[in-house]
């Protein structure tokens, strides 16, 4: 389902410390280059739940964005089975001035549905999100949890084979969190893959049997959740970096 071979994602900064693209760096010379990911290799088979653990800035979000196709690797090779659904930010990719239903329509089309399919799905998205009348309110009036609810409801409509969750499920209330976990487990049970990040390890462990410990953009450990968690916590305790 996922096969990453020595994947690297590079960020170039100009002298004002702003990220520049490789082409822009020709006339805004890059002062520094950092690798968000470097030499990351792993494979995920059907039915796996994988937790990405690591300190803030270790590359977890970069990894998820790369799996989602938001970032394109600057080196290496990545294969990901589509469709992929992602909740990579607390705002769940919603545009603040649009209503919930307008966002749902737009995200559905961006995610690969036709307009007709996306329109037809609106009632289902409204029901699944549990937003009620707020579905027709501008998203600027939503709480983080409401955004995540809507984002997840749209993501489900895409019938993903790979689901990517970046800490956002931690912003959910307990009721919806249970729903997300149940849906994620169903996806895993039907041969899909879930990759999740977060600092709430008990929550991650409920979804994922396996974990990958990222440090400075590289894989420091990969294996059963408990083993990797232990390695990570030990490094945190001793202040070790790889």
């Amino acid at each position: 389902m996922i096969n990453a071979e020595r994947v690297g994602v590079r960020f170039q900064f100009d002298r004002h410390r702003r990220v520049v693209t490789p082409k822009a760096s020709r006339f805004r010379p890059a002062a520094t280059t950092t690798w968000g990911l470097r030499g990351v290799s792993f494979a995920a088979s059907a039915g796996e739940g994988i937790a990405l653990v690591g300190r803030s800035g270790s590359g977890k979000t970069t990894m998820l964005r790369t799996l989602a196709g938001v970032y394109v690797p600057d080196e290496g090779r990545l294969r990901v089975h589509r469709p992929v659904a992602s909740l990579l930010a607390v705002d769940a990719g919603l545009l603040a001035l649009l209503t919930g239903s307008e966002n749902a329509l737009l995200l559905g089309v961006l995610g690969g549905l036709s307009r007709r399919e996306s329109k037809r799905a609106l009632d289902a998205v409204k029901e699944r999100s549990g937003l009620g009348d707020a579905f027709e309110y501008p998203v600027s009036a939503y709480s983080q949890g409401m955004c995540a609810r809507l984002g997840f409801a749209v993501a489900e409509e895409l019938e993903p084979r790979v689901l990517l969750l970046d800490e956002v499920h931690e912003a959910l209330d307990h009721e919806f969190r249970a729903i997300v976990q149940e849906r994620a487990r169903t996806l895993i049970g039907t041969g899909g893959v879930v990759v999740a990040t977060g600092h709430d390890h008990p929550l991650l462990e409920q979804l994922c049997d396996r974990a990958i410990y990222l440090d400075n953009g590289t894989v420091a450990a990969d294996g059963p959740f408990r083993d990797v968690q232990r390695a990570y916590l030990e490094d945190v305790r001793t202040g070790t970096h790889h």
Binding site: K23, R65, G93, L106
Partner: protein, 279 residues
């Protein structure tokens, strides 16, 4: 440093039995239309809001932008020449469309930061959607020209049938400019006001304030190098003089727009893979 981009994404939708390439092409086209429509619709909601008031806002906005100035030219200032207010309206309306598209396109990527960072989608259509959004405003602006023609008692002639073609050339130039503006707006953020000033300067380096026929022969030759010159004269021919535009007035802007696309479209297609890093 060697930059290798090698991402293989297997899409379930694309894995269907392909059948004919024609069918795949048609599917891709329909998908692009859906995407373009959805992005433009979202843009229009930002611009005009929702409910019945959005139609009123859509109709009145052009008058708020340039209408008052044109009324001043038409009814207050005593300017020489044939229908100076209409002459000016015939160029300001298409120019406003062009400069608004450029302004919108420069922010097109940054304004969509939330969706860019959350999911992968075809970003190649973002600038085109900016031009389409401004098209809505452009159509409403044409009502200013109708008002001006009525004010000067100038009736439309059969030349009005050239309007769709001229407008299409205008849209083509705007789309091309949008691709350039999207990239330049991202590469040179702090220079955005200067980029807009450059477009504004193009207006003053064209027969915007007076028709080309009222300029000196030497200046006329130079002004013709500006792609806006042909476009402006084409609109004036249709609305003011009631005659068909000359071939060069349409062909030259098409050539310039194509040249812009030849340079910037491949660059945009490469750079769009990096957008999520820089927003």
């Amino acid at each position: 440093m060697k930059g290798e981009i090698d991402q293989i994404v297997e899409r379930a939708h694309d894995a269907r039995p392909s059948g004919a390439p024609l069918r795949n092409g048609l599917r891709r086209l329909l998908r692009a239309v859906d995407l373009l429509r959805s992005l433009t619709e979202a843009d229009l909601r930002f611009r005009y809001g929702r409910g019945p008031s959005r139609v009123i806002r859509w109709l009145l906005e052009p008058f708020a932008l340039v209408g008052v100035y044109l009324l001043l030219i038409t009814f207050v200032l005593d300017r020489p020449g044939l229908a100076p207010g209409l002459s000016l309206a015939a160029v300001i309306v298409p120019f406003q469309f062009l400069i608004s598209t450029v302004g919108n396109a420069m922010d097109a990527v940054e304004l969509r930061r939330p969706i860019l960072l959350n999911m992968a989608f075809d970003r190649n259509l973002l600038p085109a959607s900016c031009a389409l959004t401004e098209c809505a405003s452009f159509v409403a602006s044409l009502s200013i020209i109708v008002v001006m023609m009525a004010a000067y008692r100038i009736a439309p002639t059969v030349a009005i049938f050239w309007l769709p073609l001229v407008a299409l050339v205008n849209v083509y130039l705007a789309v091309a400019a949008a691709y350039a503006a999207s990239l330049l707006g991202l590469w040179l953020r702090e220079l955005k006001p200067f980029l807009l000033s450059f477009v504004r300067a193009l207006f003053f380096l064209s027969p915007g304030l007076v028709p080309l026929s009222q300029t000196s022969p030497e200046v006329r030759t130079l002004l013709r190098l500006n792609p806006l010159t042909g476009l402006f004269e084409a609109y004036r021919n249709i609305f003011l003089f009631g005659r068909a535009p000359a071939a060069w007035q349409l062909l030259y802007p098409i050539v310039i727009a194509s040249a812009i696309l030849v340079v910037f479209l491949p660059l945009y297609r490469t750079e769009q893979t990096q957008f999520a890093k820089v927003v």
